[in-house]
Symmetry: C2
Subunit: 205 residues, 2 copies
């Protein structure tokens, strides 16, 4: 539980190795959770030795924080450019379809790359929690802004609380993913998102 990483000086090779470690760790954490992912598993998967791992990260907590950042980037990357243009009913539906299709592909295993870490670490590691809050915010922002644009443009009534709807959409997504992961069926995710989308529609001008 080191404070913050001293901004180390890294060569190109060093950056590559570090990235390889984080990517391997992220994948394992997504599949098995933080606690069940051993340093040694990461080590093997990344093809590095133990000393290298501790050369780049003070301890497991610090590595996990790097994983959170990596997964946040990943989530945003996958959903981009969709996420940047969530400003029409069409776009919102397309986004929903992509999310559902993604879970379908992975046979409903693995919940949200950020959400499942949040469930595990939010109450345990204050620094991780801060990073998770930041991660969710980076995710929520484009949704919020898309809805705001719809309102400003006149697609939604002027008195629409777009911030609330954006938050509700993110919550529906998280809850839907959890139930989908548990039940191994995409219906919960689809229904949860559809319900909030329907609610957004009731604010159409």
């Amino acid at each position: 539980m080191k404070e913050t990483a001293p901004p180390r000086r890294l060569t190109a090779k060093g950056r590559a190795t570090r990235a390889r470690i984080v990517a391997a760790a992220a994948e394992l954490v997504f599949a098995h959770g933080v606690a069940r992912t051993g340093i040694d598993d990461v080590r093997r998967a990344a093809g590095v030795s133990a000393s290298q791992l501790y050369h780049y990260f003070a301890d497991k907590d610090e590595l996990m924080r790097a994983v959170i950042a990596h997964q946040t980037d990943g989530v945003l990357e996958v959903q981009r450019p969709l996420l940047d243009h969530l400003d029409s009913f069409d776009a919102l539906e397309q986004w929903r379809d992509v999310l559902v299709a993604l879970q379908e592909e992975r046979h409903c295993t693995g919940g949200c790359p950020i959400g499942s870490i949040a469930a595990e670490l939010a109450d345990e590691d204050p620094e991780a929690r801060a990073d998770l809050v930041a991660g969710f915010e980076r995710w929520e922002a484009p949704i919020r802004e898309g809805l705001a644009r719809m309102r400003d443009r006149g697609d939604l009534r002027a008195d629409t609380d777009t911030d609330a709807l954006a938050l509700a959409l993110l919550a529906a997504l998280q809850g839907g993913l959890l139930l989908t992961q548990t039940r191994r069926v995409t219906a919960p995710l689809r229904v949860a998102l559809d319900t909030v989308l329907a609610q957004i529609r009731t604010h159409a001008a």
Copy 2:
């Protein structure tokens, strides 16, 4: 990872000890998660010796399944009798208030007693997953039935998909709890629930 527990014969004292172990384990798991809860912690908290623990449970997995059942009972108990009469807008709002107040009390720490276990075990232990599915179902059923009664009674239009709304409500609850736990603010839970409640209202006859 034993199959199913052989239905052991227990005396009154045995049942009490077993219950004490499960209760202690449930509390620790709720606070720290499955992986971070050691058998020894449970042992100490329950005031029993190691051999007793393994006298009642084949292994940790089996204990965790008992915890899932215990938490399901607990969740239903806390929300009863509210949960059995979720058949009016008033009751739904009261229920929402209780849920929000509960998170407020615990300062937004600890997500859902079932949901957080689900996030950790759904992909890891098939038997636990089955129990979690059953637990969520026991939770969803009264919600579903309450909404169905509202429709049958004519409070909601006849073409209302009450099953979908019930599922959406549960998803909103789960997602709202996760975001509330992460952000340490009750707003996400409240907003998520309110949004689905508003959507239910649009189906008022």
